[in-house]
């Protein structure tokens, strides 16, 4: 899942997927709240989950997205 999340982030923010790790923060990539919302919608479509709008503020790193979505899928 980490690789797929990286791929979505790379496409969403126009950065190189190879430069991304689980620890990469969205802030360091210059993403604002609307960028994040846009990616959240792609995560929802890709992984078949619904991400609570309230939870989005806690998704600071690529790894936190993976952990959150894995939690939803359990």
């Amino acid at each position: 899942m980490l690789e797929k999340v990286k791929e979505i982030v790379a496409e969403g923010l126009d950065v190189n997927a190879a430069d991304l790790t689980a620890e990469t923060t969205f802030e360091s990539l210059g993403a604002d709240s609307l960028d994040l919302m846009d990616m959240v919608m792609t995560f929802e479509d890709e992984f078949g989950v619904e991400i609570d709008t309230e939870a989005i503020g806690d998704l600071k790193t690529i790894g936190s997205v993976v952990t959150y979505i894995e939690g939803l899928k359990k």
Partner: protein, 320 residues
Amino acid sequence: MRGRICGTGSYVPEHYYDNNDLSKMVETNDEWIRERTGIVRRHIAEEDTTVSMAVKAARNALADAKLNADDLDLILVSTITPNTVIPSTACEVQKELGAVNATCFDISAACSGFVYAYNTAQAYISAGMYRNILVIGSETLSGIVNWQDRGSCILFGDGAGAAVIRAEEGEILPSVTHSDGAKGQVLACESRQQKNWQEKENEKQTYVSMDGQAVFKFAVKKVPEVIGELLQKADLTEKDIDLFVLHQANLRIIESVAKRMKTDITKFPVNIEEYGNTSSASIPILLDELNKTGCLQKGQKIVLCGFGAGLTWGATLIEW
């Protein structure tokens, strides 16, 4: 029978606030607003009202259509910011234009209002009830915006757009509209006229309230969906459409929609930089600008798509 747009018009007040003006009123700045919304200026009605802007846009549209006001048999005004509860804005416009033969009423569907009103016009024409219809979107959003709320006051502006729709032979073109009242609270504004039988200590001041992220998500999800439904109904693909004229709510919404539809952004004309979000006026103002600058050619297929409070959203196919 079906209707064809045979004239367009628009009007925006001269006075505007640019982002630097707003940065003196609330804590914000030009860069922040541009990056998140694409908006640079929004025009503000000083002397003008929803009626006066509607009338000026209507006169432009009638001149473009080479039609007299007394040729009109229906005037539909979409607005959420009427000057008066009664009479309707449409009746006030009728009076100013001298459109003595027209039936007049307003439609309230917020930012989807122009699309809903356009569809209503098409339905009346197709039923054979009216032939020459004036459809107007006119809004004075500056009056319902909280100018101390930096999250919302940066977004909205005032203005009006109009289109004259004439009956012609042919099949009505497809449209798709939806509403979801259950999610209405993400973008709301209470009426100030409530419970007047009660003694009130303080008159309640009400303003537009908005959950920006929820509205963004709604728009970016529903706009591609409804356009997809429309294209399927019309047996067309994105490639067959020359222009997608979307409600101008936020440049970022339009960019995300284009990306999701895998369609070149150049097919999505924008003017939000100059006017901000003018609710139901945004589509007819943009359509008028495209028309008057020669960007529209006969036979072009154009999708109009509105989305906003209600929630309401819809897309309709037009042939220029």
